[in-house]
């Protein structure tokens, strides 16, 4: 008996696997940064599932890949990127406010170097 798996199915299974790993990490992750990275894994998994859906040819229905899910993935990437940026900005700010836990963490280094210099609207008091 041979097991036949199409490309789309393989991709879909990969995506599902990534989502599973990501959910595990996001729920049980030991630190905030790890949970955030796990969220990024989930997002990647979802995007791969979208890719598999495109390959199956949802809207177009023909042999070619469906462009609609691909366009959606690009938008989804932007949203996930913005979410990660916002979350990391919060973490950096938090690390700057908590000098005790932050002494050795890379985020604190980043906070020391970048945050003081970063003032998008210039000269305003916080």
């Amino acid at each position: 008996m041979t097991l036949s798996v199409t490309e789309a199915q393989l991709y879909g299974l990969c995506g599902a696997g990534l989502i599973g790993i990501g959910l595990y990490g996001a729920i049980l992750g030991p630190s905030a940064l790890r949970r955030l990275l796990a969220f990024n894994l989930i997002s990647s998994g979802v995007f791969i599932v979208f890719g598999a859906i495109a390959r199956r040819g949802g809207l177009a229905g023909g042999a070619a890949s469906d462009p609609v899910p691909q366009a959606l993935v690009i938008t989804g990437l932007v949203v996930a990127f913005a979410a990660t940026a916002l979350a990391v900005a919060l973490l950096i700010r938090l690390a700057a406010l908590q000098p005790k836990t932050a002494r050795s963490s890379p985020l604190a280094e980043l906070a020391k170097r970048r945050y003081d210099a970063f003032d998008p609207w210039g000269g305003g008091k916080a």
């Binding site: 905030a32 979350a87 916080a126």
Partner: protein, 602 residues
Amino acid sequence: MSLPEVLAPWLDGPRAAELLFPLLALPVLALLLAPLLGARGARLLTLATLLLGLGLALAAAAALTAADAPLVYALGGWAAPLGVVLQLDGPAALMLLLTAFVLSAVGLHAARDFGVAAVGRRATLAFWMLLLGVWAGLNGLFLGRDLFNLYVAIEVLTFSAVPLVCLKGGAGQLTAAFRYLLFALLGSALYLLGAGLMLGLHGTLDIGQIAERLGGLMMAEGVDPAAADESVRMASLVAVALMSTGLLAKTALMPLHLWLPPAHGGAPAPASAVLSALVVKGSFFLLFRLWLDLVPDLRALDVGLLLGVLGAFAILLGNAMALMQERLKLLVAYSTLAQLGYLFLLFPLAGAGGPAVTAALVQVVSHALAKAALFLLAGRVLAAFGHDRLPRLDGFGRALPGTLLVLLLAGLALVGLPPSGGYLVKTLYGQAAGADAWWWRLVLDLGGLLSAAYLARILAVALRPPAPAAPGTTPKAGSRVGTLGLLVPGLLALGALLLGLLPPSLFALLDIGRADMGSATAVAEVMRTALTPAVFWSSTGPVLVVALAVMLFHIGGDSAWQRGIGAAGRELAGIEGDLREWRVAGALLLMIFLAQVLAVLP
């Protein structure tokens, strides 16, 4: 030509649908323009845009009433599935109006607190831009019909709401904001996966088109039980369960509420008002669309019962926890959790048709008005005393009598005394439940009495003689809480309290585009008897008894049974604290997803 003649084609003519685009574009354009104008300009621009938007929402509601059918606008002339369609029906028009009204009111109230002189340029610019962002996200949610577009709208909403939590920039607020963001992101990932599966199954993301296809499959079921169709139907329902789980996390339905109390309790008062009154309603509205518009027959599934049981759990636990909070803002935040529970009673009761849907929409309005008022008032207490810890606020009613009075008015609307919105909600839900399902009515009544209990607790604190001078027990010298600041909370509280006195014909707006709803007649029927002495006292009497008991409890000494109640309360608070652990909440999220899947499968 006079102004009405010029506006005629939009208000009741062929161009009415064109009103939908500016409702979406206006907040976004203002948001893009605001940073160029600087902090002072941003405040003025936001307030002006909000008032203009309120006018637009009124015009859209008028046009919808004139047309008496949903307004549909295809962006760029492209029809679904390739294009993105905006659609305005009755519930959406209601939400648009409510959002514009509450945001304008909160904006006017916050105009002085969030100025350059008070909080600096950076926080000022951020606050007003975020307000516009929240508005843009919400309008997108109400007008959207495309599952992916709705995803983008709800992300815009989340990304605007999260920074509102941490405007003050303290470590506590930043932690709360991060927790909120991460849990919301988990929810949106689940939602996006569900939307993707829908696209794969149906080749379209348009809610109307998917609903048609699913409806067709359900019809075909009896005639020709084709296995392929059945599997598509099952897979679609699982996709809806995925999306629904993600949205439950964003709506903070208990027990998925770990992020809400610290976020809403820690944000500046006007931000809390917006978050509690509007932001959580955005994801609820999408749940409403999914289960009522996209799924063809909710009655055939057990999932409505599941959501209703979670809602009842939220009503009871949320109110009980509100009763035990030490901080006024946290008390109001837990009361939000309980009030969100009322919204979810819609799903088990919607099968009966009209009254439950009307009740849920009235609850959205009533809670938004009352809760915005309560948070703004908590902000006044905070500004006057420098803290909001109830044990140290003895006698605050003497220092702030007006604040106490308005707080009681808003609270009575939540308790549900006639003729408030809360009374309408309870009575309409009761009608929808019918005589057999007495347990739903029991939950509604218990919830009202628990709300009366925490209101009475605030009153008892406010009327107690002030403690001998200790830091924080008297108003700070030079604190600026003028009586003018009572105007907006008072207006909002009165709006919630007198909601039932509106002409019933206005409620007909809710029915447009929805089958078998009769909001106007249902409301007229309820209000006809609401103010007769028998009905009035049967709903007011128990509330007065409970309020009196709670006040005696707080004034009385320290007997054994009082300590017993205190110990039981701490026990309950311990369990609720466990539910707010990240890992527990994460596991609950997965369990609620599995439970929904089991409930949608036959």
